[in-house]
Every structure is written in structure tokens, then in C-alpha cells.
Homo-oligomer: 286 residues x 6
């Protein structure tokens, strides 16, 4: 137990970190375990509200895989994946849209409000925030999986201006067809971060970060310069599911974001630890 | 076929009607057949965009009964009604929320954008727009059906100010419990109209309006003064499903809305006919 | 007679045209028969108010030849023309100024207000809107006929910003002498259109437009590209009074105006027909 | 001749007077000799520009009797007066409107601009600034002489806000008939002063002010309290043409204007003398 | 030593407290030991910057007794007190003004800036912030000690609006004489808090707060309702130097400030402990 | 004695001069005799308020040598000069800061307010207005004499925007050490003029200006072009204390200030004479 005096001191120690990010935009991609476990969920919500209150403009970008799978199971539809991407037929897309934009998104908004913040739930269709076309990669058909072609950050910027936390579901408006598209949440967060001129992109994952030896969590690489990425890929250190995440970070940096982070969402308050202490957390790509 | 000269004349004849509503808020409750038939759907969208372009601030409030029923059927859940209200257990509420806020709402936004307008999809949780508590009527349990206790129109007003058409799904944020509530769309439209200081409330239905003889559509009552309502109820002229609709209109008038209309959504462009011609359409309650 | 349903449909058909010009500036040069015939006058006023109401920023630029001639006759002064331009001595200039800036201009304002719009009457002297010097062409003396040297569109922009229709009388402020100058209304409209970054310049005339055979109205040339003008002049297709009008259009395009139109002011609602239907009217120069 | 040091001192002595009126509205009714004599004209223009520059919001209201008479003579029309008011038939009204709104008004604007100020010319029709109905006094017909029923000061306030000197011609928009009305300039100035919340109303005349003995200019009454007016009228001290002027002043005070002045327009710079020295000029009614 | 995870948790625990004061004004009277000891000084500065960063509008009001005494000693002038108030002759006043407004005030500004905040130093003369007259109490002469007659909070409000921390030296502008007045800093803080509509007034002292037994710091009274003050005075619990401090608090509450606090400035971070923990510190008067 | 009519004429003659500087920034360095003699002091204050009232944005920059010397004498400290610069040890710096920022600065503010203006007192520390480092010239130690490295004119610009006269004491915030620095007032005025985009820099001195024969005041050089300075220095015409003053003027011109003036502060109202008459005063460097 800490005395209140010690608590005050801890608050004061956060000062330089708060000052560094005051008035800046920080995009947080939220998903995985941190979204399922009730304690981790509460911790992430608290972190976000704290950042918001100390004058940092948080934009929360979320997916919702488990809820989608659950709903698909309910309607007796098997999730089908092609090259690691969810094949999205029309019926699946309707369920994805309902679950992401209607259920997960608005529940996040409701929780943030209940905890004292002001929030608004948006998706890529609102104000034409994210425009996409049908993804075509190597001639494979992924159904209604979209590729982002344009980000119009107006609605998110207005929400920030009005003192709200924008919560963004990663469903895009089709510009080639009259449909919604399922888009990758990491990519959406990265593109949004660039469009908003964000200072930082944080991707919450279910691993400690980039590990030199994927079986040993003690081999965490704390920081990777953008130009070191190709070599690390060749060596196989960046591999599997980590490849697209690192690519999103690299794209964000290319687009002007100062620092990007792949954080361990299984550690409570990892966002605050990363941003407000000297310890850092996970892997920083810059 | 009209000549272009005749077309121009028709436009000009709409002038005094446009002038009357310029800069005013008009709340439109949208549902029923007008939402299902593709032609009627297109006509309503076009009416709304035209109103928006000539400087009238439309707020579109929608339900989505058929889509909800379809989804419930898919997950093998029977719709259950108590005293004419959908009994809403937790599982049903999740589906209602997904379908209304995620699917129907965002599809409306997407259509308005595709047709050239700027739009944003909101529900009662965004910015705490509609706050509700569990409905308790005569000791009957309706599950997660909510009763509106407060409307915070800020997010809708901001959207109007930013030149957008706000589209509102009628799901409310619970203030007594940590849940979303299913709320009646007519009531929500009426309460929102009052909170926004709307000039007009339009409720699209599947009937011609209030009929003196419910079996004869030629007995339409074109206008009802608020103080005539009790007598018409006693006589049984206002009966069945028309009772709550008329009550919503009466509440809106009580709250300062100048005119309310129960329109026939089965007639294409009934909103424009009501607002921009001398004919009127359906029943006006004022 | 059209049913109201047909009327509504006609309104809806205007949607894409309205959307194209929403928020843009359209400069209309008004004169000739359309100003004298009461029905044509009413039709032009209605067209302008409709454009204004649907969010198009109309600037009305007018001359007033017939009224000036009438007044000159009253004071027993013969109108005198040199090379097709009214020779303007001091006494004539006083009358021109009174009739244009005081009578015709303010009557237009009054009519627009009576028909429900907000309007303000300005001339080239107000806020130094149009600055001119004495015209010197080929050593001929035209008296107080001015040549525009600068347009300061501030007062007109403010009027637009305040939601008013600016009505501009084409009398300029002399910067070389302490006098007002009589300036050509087509030129003034063209220069003003450029200064305001207008999307469109419309010149109402008493002919169908540019005719391939001046005696046959059925030989109307519907569209002329700017680079086709020299050839058409050489061929004599563009000749006489049409030459300066076409030159004004060409100057406007040169200055960034997207499209210019020489319209038949004798056709009621020709502005609306041109702008809100697929027919077009008169000759477009682009 | 003064030394520059003495000049500087004189400027400094004006300080407390400038401070008193800084940011306040002062309405000046301008007419009579001060408008005809070139030197007096220049002096009034300079006074107004100086007031404007030191942060006082001048509104210049003018008539133009001599110019109207001259024009009527030119067209061979006799000026006709009924009970001291110009009988205004339609033809006369057209000339009044042209001369006042088009000639006198715009010439004043042009002069102010040439002397370095920013100015805009308005009449009662612009933005519906002054609304009038046909005057009916004792059943006598005065033709198109109007009685002010409403002042909408918006256009004048906007002009002030934009840093311009508004110059107002006293022709009103008819709200009972589709016509312009000739209105009394003193009355218009008084009503405008009230509508603008003016601090001061200045009426320039061709006399020294209210004289105890009308034949002896040395019997000037320097100040009259509003409640002394009835007695002075009874005594015959306030008589003839002075009665309506004093009434205008009394109405202005009734409407909240702090001080009103009947000044001698034949004295150069009488406005500055009144406002910026301890001497005062003419008769103050308060 | 705390882990970073524990630090993060501590930050999160401050959330509800931060939310309560976000966007509110808090006036802090700073003086005594907390101003002299370098560590306490640093702690107060950090507390203030933290409050500022989390969106609380801090106004820092300070005295500077020790520095004044030191300077008086340097110039060989004995401090003289009448009824517990510093007798302030002209020479003393000059030194008070120099030390408070020039030295102490600007040093505070400089420190806040060095620690990363934006700050501006003001005194009662700037923008006529605090107006005073010569104090007259029981016919005793206190020299240039002033009594506040008016607070014009404009300059402080502008500074807050511009995102700055206003630091206010308690020297007032004389409105009865052309002099500066020495005013009591507690009173100034209280008056300023009222004028700014502050949520809270904090007075830092050198005692634990109001003690039931002045010799026993363990007898601290944690909270006093305004209506309990008279009784506590009668009992002698509120006595000596505590009387005027309690009176300042009572005046602030009377003027609409929600809560006032007499805090122990000898405890580091007592402001944060009071505002951001459940412990509280010192005596709250409400 | 002048008649009021002559006074009015004098005011009017100032018109073109007022128009030239309306809305422009004029930086005035104030010091020397003009600050000590009560009449000269009053004259400068009046000049400044007049400039302020006619819409010129005056920034008053002041030193305070005599007051500093007096205070140093009081505390028994000898003023010590190195190469013509006051050697400033820590104790001296504290006194300089108190006298300049607390006494002289706030007294000027108080006087301007008493005379009817709105004013605010600032120093280089407020809002980090002037940032300096320790001066190092030829290896000589001058103590806490600073060299300006950056001007952040934000606080001064805000004060101007709020309609206040900013009064600036020339003490800077140290960016290399945690100290205040004593800086040269002429330099500070020059740098501030550049940072504010001033139209004019006025330096009040105790001489007539630059004299061709320093012993003969009749040999005043009225105007010096920037490129004539080197020759005049070589000739010895610009010499002694005039060298740094002329250098400040040259720097200001280099930085975009249109005209700079070295004025005789011993002549009452020399600022007004320079700015509002055709005579000019002192030496203009341009």
C-alpha cells in the first residue's frame, strides 16, 4: 500500500511524459485478449480516459474477431479463411458490419461514457471516413475484403475538436461497389494515424512484442529502426503474424508518425506504462 | 413527359414552401414499407437529400423491425411480444443493437453518401444522445425495453452544424444499468424533435393516416387539432396502432414542435408532396 | 396539369444539378427584354431566388439602357453613340448614375425582398468594388465611359457571407479623376465573376445565342470551346454585338470561370433550364 | 500659424473627448447648406473620417432636397408641397429615388473613399433597412410619402463591423404596397439612431440652433432638457421648422440615445467642435 | 520502490478526481514555508503544473513577506506593524511593489516556464485587475495598505483562455489616490476566486489547519461547515492568525466558491494529496 | 489661445498621418529625461494614449537606469560599469529585476490606466517573451548581462489583440542558466519591433538626434539611409553612445521595420510631432 504522499509523487513523476504528448493525437489499435478479459478491458478503458483527460487526443480503432466468430456460429456459418484473411461473403459481411459497427463499437462508447468520458462511435462509412475498393491480391478472391484507397479524417477531427474520444470500427465504404468492406484493423489504424498527423501509433497484441527467439519472451527487442526491418525479416526474426503488424508500423512512420509501438495487451495498463514511465513496453518501431 | 420549361416552372412553384422551412429542423421517423421496397427507399432518400440541399436540417430517425426479425430467425430465436412490445432479452438486445446501429444505420449513411449527401450514423449511446431506464408499465416485464429519461442533442446539433445529415438508430444508453435499451422509434423521434426545437415531425407509416372509417381510405382526416384528440379516441377513430403514433405527435406539439404529420410511406415522395405542395399528405396533427 | 406526385419527381430530378453548384458563385448579367417584360422579369427573379435558396451564391449584375434612355428623353437630352458606345457627358453620367444605382438597382433589391429573399444593392463605388479610368480607344473621346482597372470584391463577398443576394449596378469609381464612370455591364459581370472565383457566368441576351446563320434561330451553336472562337470570328459567325459578349465569356474562362453561357432572356426560366436540366439553353462557351 | 508643438498639444487636448465616444455609434443627419457649399462639404467629410479613424462608429444619414428640385426642374415637373411636405407622385418618387439613392448617396461614398475612408452606400430598401407604409395624417393625401414602421439595422451593423462608414439614403421599402416611399430624413436618422443604440444623434441645420428670439442669433439656447420642451413650445420658442427637428431629438432620447444635437451646418467643423472641445455648438437636447 | 505497473495504477486511481475538476478554476494562495524551502517550492510548482496539464485552470496568488523583509533590512528600514498589519509608508510600498511584482512574481513565472508550463505574471495594476482604496479600520492609519473595492478579472481570464498559468502579485491599483496599495494576499485570493467563479480556493499555510487544541496537531478539524464558524470562534478554536484566513474562506463560499481549504504547506504535494486522493489534507471549509 | 474652430482644423490636418499608421505596430523605446521630468512624462503618456486611441498599436519598451541607481545607492551598492555596460552581479540583478519589472513597469501601467487607457505590464519572462544567454564579448565578464537569442511575441500580440497597451520591461529569461538577465533596452525594442512586424521604431533620447557637429544642435541630420551609416561612422559623425542606438535602428530596418527614429525626448510631444506633422523630429534612419 502506498501513502497518499507517495501517490502524489508518482503523479508528479508522470509530468514530463504528459507534457510531451499534450495536444498530440495518439491512435490506439485495440483487439485481442485485452478486449476479452474483463480486467484488461477495464485497464485499457482507464488508460484511454486518463490520456484523454491530460489533453492527449486518443483515437481508438478496434476490430472484434471473437464476437464476429460467435455470431457466425450462432447463425450456423463457418468462418472461412483464405491466406489468413477471413473470406467475407455478403451474409458474413452483414454480420461483421452489425457486430463491429453496432455492437462492439457502441459498447465501447457506452463504457467510456459510463466511466466519465465523452465518446462517439464511428465507422468508415460515417462522413466517408474510410473509402475502400475490393481487395485483389495475386488474383485470389477474398470476397468483400476491402483495400483502403482514401481516408477522409474530417469526422474524427471534428469529434476531437468537440472534446470527444472517437471510437472507430474498421468497416469501410465501398467506392467501386455499393457495399461495405471488411478491412484489416491494424492497417486502418495505421492509415488513420497518418491522416490525422498522429504522434504515435499503438498496436495492442497478445505477445510481448518482436522477439529475437519467438519461444523466449525474454528476448524482446525493445526498439527497431525502420531501416533495420528488412534485415530482421530476412533473418526470420520478424515472421508470421508479426510481419503485417510491423509493416503497418513502418507505413505509419513513412507517413510521418513519430513513433509506433507493438505492445503486450496482456499486461494491464501497458499503454500508460509505455507512455508515462521510462520503462517502455513491447517493441518500439521508429 | 414534361418539357424543361415546365420542369423549371415546377421548381419555382416550390419556392414559398422551401422558404418556409429554410434553416429549420425537420425530424423524420422512417420505417415500414418505405424502408423495404427499393423504389420507396430510393424516393425517401432523394426527398431527404433534396430537403438537406435546400437548407432544411433533416434528422432521420429509423427503426428496423424486419431486419431484426430476419436476424432473429437466422439465430433460431423466436420474436416474442408482450402487450404489443418486443420482449427483449439480453441475446435479443445484442442482435437488435447490431442490426439497428451497425447494419441498418450505416447502410442508410452509405446510401445518402453515395447519392451525394454528407451523412453520419449515430445511436442513443453516442455522446449519450438518448438516456433511458428499464421500462416498467403495470408491473409487466418487457426485458431490456427502455423508457427515455433524457435527450442530450449535442452530437446531432454538431452534425447539423457541420453540414451533415444525422441518421439516428433508436437504441438508448442505460443510466440505471450497464446495458443498451431497445426504445420505440416513434417516441425517440418525437423526443428528439422536441430537444432539437424542430419545426416539424414526420412519421412515415403504412397507412394513409388517421381514417374516420378504418376500412375506407377515402375517409382520411386531413388535420386534427391537438385538443380534438381525446374526443376522437373516445369515438374509436384513433385506435389500435394509431394511438401511440398520435400520442407521439401530441407530445411533440406539447414540446413546441409546430406541426406533426402521419404520412403514407407507401406513396413515393410523400415527404416532398407534404412539404412542397399545397396538397399535403396523410394526417396533420397540430 | 401535373399531379403533386409528378411535381415531387421533377424536384428530385433537379438534385444532381443542385449538388453540382451548391456553395459555388454564379454571376448573372441581366438586361434586355428579360428586364422589360413583366413576366420575364418575374421569371428571372424567381430563378435567382431559387438558386439562392438551394445554396448557390448568385451575384446579379445589371445594366438599364431603356430606363436611362427614357430619363434622358424626359430631360430633353438626346442619347448619342460613338462607335456603338453611349457618349457620356457629365450631365448624362449623372442621370446614368441615378437611374442605374438608385432606381433600377434598388427596385431589383426591393423585388427580391418582396419575393422572400434577402438582398443588398451595390455599385462599383461601394467599398471601391470596381475601379476604372477614362476609356481611351483609338484616340476617340467617349466622355465618361470607363475602363475597369481593378475589382475589389470584398463588399460582394461579405454580402454573400451574410446570406444576401448582391445586386450590382455597373457604375465604377474613377481612380484617375473624381468622377463616376459608365462601364459596360457584360465586362463588369465578367470581371466580377473572375474576382469572385465564380463557377459560372450567365449573360442574358435577346437572341437564342450564337447562330451559325444569324437569320435562322435553328442554327444555334450549343457549345463553343474557347480555342474555336478565333476561327468562328474569322468566318463571321461571331459578329456584331455578339463579338464583345463572346469576348467577355472568353476573358472569364481565361480568368478561371469554368463555364459561361449566352442565354436567351426571352425564354422564361432560361437560367433554371440551363442549370437544372439536361437540355441546356443558348450557347455555352467553355 | 501654429507651431507643430502647439498642434501636438491640440491633439492631446482632444483625448478625453475621443475616449468618451470610442466604440460608440453616432448618427449624423446631413443636409442643407453644409451639403451644398464645397468648403462646408469638405469639412463635414473630414470630420466624419476623423471620427471614424479614432474609433467612433459614424452613420451618415442624408437627404438631398436641392438635387431633387434641380432634377424635377430639368424634367419640367413642379415641386408641390402639401402642409410643408413634398407631395410625391409616382414620377416624382422615381426621381427622388434615383437622385437620393443613386446620385447623392454614391457621390458621398465616392468622396469618403477618395479621402481615405472605407464606405458603403445603402438605402432603406437594402436588407429591408427601413420599412414604411403610406403616410396618412388628418386624411390628407401626400402621395408616396411614407411613415416608418420598422427599422432592421442589420446591414448597417454589418457595415460598421466590417470597418466601413455606412451612408444611408432616406428612401424606404413599402410594406403595404410594392413601392418605394419618400421619408423624412430627420425622422429616419432619429429612428436609425435608436435602432443602433447610438450614443449621439447630430442634426446639421442651417440655423445656429434653438433661439430664444428667432431673429437674434445671440439668444441661442445651449441645452434643453427633454421635459422642458413642452413649455418651450407653448412659449413659441420652438416653432416652425424647428418643431419636427426637436421632436426627432426627443424621440431619439426616449429611445435611449444619450444626447442629441441641432448643429449649425454653416460653421465649418461644427461636428468636431461639438464633440471634441468644451465649447459645444448649437443646441443640445438631452 | 514502485514498479511501473504500480505507477500506472496510481495514475488511474486519480481519474475520478481529475474528472471532477476538469475545466474548473482553482485559486491557490501560496506563501509561507512552502515558498522558502527549495524542496517544498519545487513540489508546489510541480503540483500546479500537473493540475494545469490535466485541464484544471490554476490561478496562483502569492505574497512574499520574507523577501520584502530582507529587502527592507538591506535598505536599513525597519518593518513596522500596526495591529498585525505591516505599516506601509511610501518608501516601503515602493519596495513591496518591486519585490512582489518584479522579483517574486517573475521568478515564479520563470520557474513554471523552466518546468515546461506557459505562465504570465500579473499584479493588481495590470488591466486594473484589483482596485483598492486606502484602508480605514477603527480610525487607525496603516499607510498604503489598501482595501479591495473591485476585481476586474479580464486579464486573468484571457491568460487562462490562452492556455497560460496566471501568477498574481497582490499589489492593487489605487482608485482614490495615484498610488499602489499593499493588500492582504489571502483576501486577494478569495476575492479573485469569487470573481473568476472558481470551484475551489486553496490557502497554503504553515500549520496543519484548524486545530481543536492549537498545541496538538492531532486535533485537526477536517471539515467545517460555514455555519459552524461563529460557534468555533466563540469557543476560541478559530483564533489568532487563523481568524482572517477562515474569514477569507467564508467570504469565498458566500461568493459561490464550492469548497475552500486551509492546507499545510509544509507537507510536500499537499495540494495534490488534497485534490487527487481520498485522504484530503488540512481543514476544508465549505 | 486658439479658437475651437482652429482646434478642429488642427485635428483634421492630422488625418493623413493617422490614416498612414492605422492598424500598424509602433514600438517606442522610452527612457532618459522624458522619463524623469514630470511634464515630459505626462506628455509621453498622452502621446501614447492618443496613438492607441486612433488605432495605432503602440508597444512601450522601457529601461529605468535612474531608479535602479537610486535603489542600489539605498542598499549601499556601488554601480559598476565595464566597457560602458553595467556589471550585474546576482544581488544587482535582483534589484534591477524588482525595480524594472515591479516598480517602473507597473507604475507606467498604472499611469496609462489612470489616464483612460487599458494597459498590461510584461517583462521578458512572461510567456517567455525574450530569451537570452549570458553575454560574452571579447572574453570580458559582464555578470548577468544577457544577449537576446529569441523573441516569442505571443503575449504582446495577445495584449494588442485584447485592446491593451503592452508595457515591456527589458529583463530576459535565461535559457542557459536559471536566472534573469539584464538586457539593453534599445536592443530589446529593436528586436521586439522586428518580431512584431512593426512599421516604426522610435527611440527617445536626450539629444536632438545625430548631429554633424556634436557640439552644435543646429547641425542635426534629419534623415540617414541605412547604407550611409558606415561612411558616417568612419567620419566620426556617428560616435560614442550614438553608435549602438544607430545599430539598433539599422538592425530593425534589416528585419523589415519601415522607418526608425532617434527622437529628442526633451521636447514635449516629440512622438506626435514626428508622427502627425510634416515637420518630423530628430533623425530618421530608414
Amino acid at each position: 500500500m502506498y501513502s497518499n504522499c507517495e501517490r502524489a509523487k508518482t503523479l508528479v513523476e508522470a509530468l514530463p511524459y504528459i507534457q510531451r504528448f499534450h495536444g498530440k493525437v495518439v491512435a490506439i489499435k485495440y483487439g485481442g485478449n485485452a478486449m476479452i478479459s474483463p480486467e484488461l478491458f477495464d485497464a485499457v478503458m482507464e488508460d484511454i480516459i486518463l490520456l484523454h483527460l491530460v489533453g492527449i487526443h486518443v483515437v481508438l480503432v478496434h476490430g472484434g474477431g471473437p464476437e464476429i466468430n460467435e455470431m457466425l456460429k450462432k447463425v450456423g456459418k463457418e468462418a472461412r479463411f483464405v491466406n489468413g484473411l477471413r473470406y467475407t461473403d455478403k451474409e458474413t459481411m452483414d454480420i461483421v458490419q452489425g457486430v463491429l459497427c453496432g455492437k462492439v463499437n457502441k459498447d465501447l462508447v457506452s463504457t467510456l461514457i459510463r466511466k466519465g468520458a465523452r465518446a462517439i462511435g464511428l465507422c468508415g462509412m460515417d462522413g466517408s471516413l474510410i473509402e475502400a475498393v475490393r481487395m485483389t491480391k495475386d488474383g485470389v478472391d477474398y470476397g468483400l475484403v476491402g483495400e483502403i484507397v482514401k481516408v477522409n479524417p474530417g469526422v474524427v477531427e471534428k469529434a476531437i475538436e468537440d472534446g470527444m474520444i472517437p471510437v472507430v470500427a474498421t468497416v469501410a465504404r465501398g467506392v467501386d461497389e455499393d457495399t461495405a468492406y471488411n478491412i484489416n484493423a491494424d492497417t486502418a489504424a495505421s492509415r488513420l494515424a497518418v491522416a490525422l498527423g498522429a504522434e504515435k501509433l499503438v498496436i495492442l497484441t497478445d505477445t510481448r512484442g518482436v522477439l529475437r527467439d519467438p519461444k523466449d519472451e525474454d528476448t524482446l527487442i525493445k526498439a527497431i529502426r525502420k531501416d533495420e526491418i528488412p534485415a530482421l525479416m530476412e533473418e526470420g526474426v520478424i515472421s508470421g503474424g508479426m510481419i503485417p503488424k510491423v509493416a503497418c508500423c513502418a507505413d505509419a512512420i513513412e507517413g510521418g508518425v513519430a513513433r509506433t509501438h507493438i505492445l503486450d495487451g496482456r499486461v494491464p495498463h501497458s499503454i500508460l506504462i509505455e507512455m508515462f514511465t521510462d520503462e517502455g513496453a513491447g517493441t518500439m518501431i521508429y
